[in-house]
């Protein structure tokens, strides 16, 4: 990823278009391009209300400047998003900041960077087809309510769907 100058260091800003092109390849990752920095996303953002570091407008600005190296890091501020979509409701440009943030998390995943809790849930899904792990106690509890045992997920089918197509991998480069 090319190094972009920060917007406030007095130099001319060099936008890292490579980063933006990578982001635009993610589903709805291109939406940030329409952001005009009005800040409507901030007022109703619960994470911004209760955090000193999370601000969806700033995240969109960093995307516009191509400052990927500030977002695509361990313990990224992106993980403070509550995914409530208030920002998407308020945005006059239909940018859907929450959705752009998920696309940025897809870029983090490409770098194999996840918070431990998140990685654990993803592993559970990829191995069992469910995000909540099963145990023998589950079926016993279900029986008490007269509910049938949990049925296995056809993992052969799920695993086949998780692999990117060769041309998709090409797209992502």
């Amino acid at each position: 990823m090319a190094k972009a100058n920060k917007p406030n260091n007095g130099d001319v800003v060099h936008v890292d278009f490579d980063f933006r092109r990578q982001l635009a390849k993610k589903v709805e990752g291109n939406l940030a391009s329409f952001c005009y920095q009005c800040g409507a996303c901030v007022g109703d953002c619960p994470a911004a209300t209760y955090s000193d570091t999370f601000n969806p407008r700033e995240i969109m600005l960093k995307v516009l400047y191509g400052l990927g190296e500030e977002l695509l890091v361990e313990d990224s501020v992106l993980w403070q998003c509550t995914n409530c979509y208030n920002c998407a409701e308020r945005c006059p440009q239909e940018v859907k900041p929450a959705e752009v943030i998920i696309s940025l998390k897809n870029m983090l995943a490409d770098l194999n960077i996840y918070p431990t809790t998140v990685e654990k849930i993803i592993d559970t899904f990829e191995n069992t087809g469910r995000t909540t792990p099963l145990s023998p106690a589950v079926d016993r509890q279900r029986e008490q309510f007269g509910l049938p045992p949990m049925q296995p997920v056809p993992m052969d089918e799920i695993k086949k769907l998780l692999e990117p197509a060769p041309d998709e991998e090409e797209d992502a480069k």
Partner: protein, 296 residues
């Protein structure tokens, strides 16, 4: 009875089977036939797996929807997260390019997404297919005057252009459903707040829940009525954490709406699994003998 394909997801059938039990008890009384889907997986969740790879996420979601398409039925879920994923997939898959990409993957398992099954949350299914009056008529013990705080959560309503459920700034579906029980819905000052589950920085959801629980307490609500199992886990287990962290003492039982409906329809309190909750809605028991008990 009108048939609908039932997508139970993970959290409810695995961790909160009492909620699934309540769905299965209540819907047939409202003229809705539950048809089980075979071979369904996680929706997949709109927070964690979606963060890894949106195209894989969409492909698995599309596969789940095709299971309902095979039956020629619309699909309903009992979880706001599942509704979010499947509704968003339904929306995104209207785009030719995305649908083609996803169908290329589905071809590997001999499936094709067509877009013929609509996605509903059980709350809106009841509103649109049965109606509030049918809910009122199904009740044998009205929960007269019980004050219930409302928690919509986020993913039932937003993004509103995708969910198409209600006005996200002034929704009414949950209030109307609570009124149909005979109870009094309370829209507390923080009704709009999220439960915070998706946020990976612990202090943020703690502060959010603290603010929300305080306004519910101010209104003297006896129950926090919600329709999402993730919000439920936040406000049940999380409530104790909040009390400890802020040296407070909250006792506001969160309850999934359909367990309340089942109770009002006559299912005995002991059968509804409330003993598994950290905060039990014991206040409900004052209605136990208020009318004819109907054995389910």
């Amino acid at each position: 009875m009108k048939p609908f394909a039932f997508f139970p997801g993970c959290l409810i059938p695995v961790r909160y089977p009492a909620m699934e039990f309540a769905i299965r008890q209540t819907l047939p009384k409202l003229g809705i036939e539950i048809v089980d889907l075979e071979g369904a997986s996680c929706c997949p969740d709109p927070i964690y797996f979606k963060s890894k790879d949106k195209v894989a996420w969409l492909s698995v979601a599309a596969r789940n929807i095709t299971l309902a398409e095979d039956l020629g039925l619309d699909l309903f879920t009992n979880c706001s997260g599942c509704t979010a994923t499947l509704s968003e997939a339904y929306h995104l898959l209207k785009d030719d390019e995305i649908r083609e990409k996803v169908n290329k993957r589905l071809k590997r398992i001999g499936r094709k997404y067509k877009g013929t099954s609509k996605i509903r949350h059980v709350t809106t299914l009841v509103r649109d297919e049965a109606g509030y009056d049918a809910v009122r008529e199904s009740i044998v013990r009205p929960l007269d005057g019980m004050k219930m705080a409302i928690h919509y959560g986020c993913h039932l309503l937003k993004p509103s252009k995708i969910m198409n459920v209600d006005d996200p700034n002034n929704p009414e579906v949950l209030e109307k459903l609570v009124e149909a029980l005979g109870a009094t819905p309370v829209r507390h000052r923080n009704w709009y707040l999220c439960c915070g589950k998706a946020c990976q920085e612990e202090s943020i959801p703690l502060n959010m829940m603290h603010a929300l629980l305080n306004t519910v307490k101010d209104e003297e609500a006896e129950i926090l009525c919600l329709i999402c199992p993730t919000c439920f886990s936040q406000f049940d287990h999380g409530q104790m954490k909040v009390s400890k962290h802020f040296n407070d003492d909250f006792h506001i039982p969160p309850v999934y709406y359909f367990q309340l409906l089942a109770y009002a329809q006559g299912v005995p309190y002991e059968k509804l699994g409330f003993e598994r909750q950290r905060f039990k809605p014991e206040a409900l028991q004052r209605f136990a003998t208020s009318s004819v008990q109907v054995e389910s």
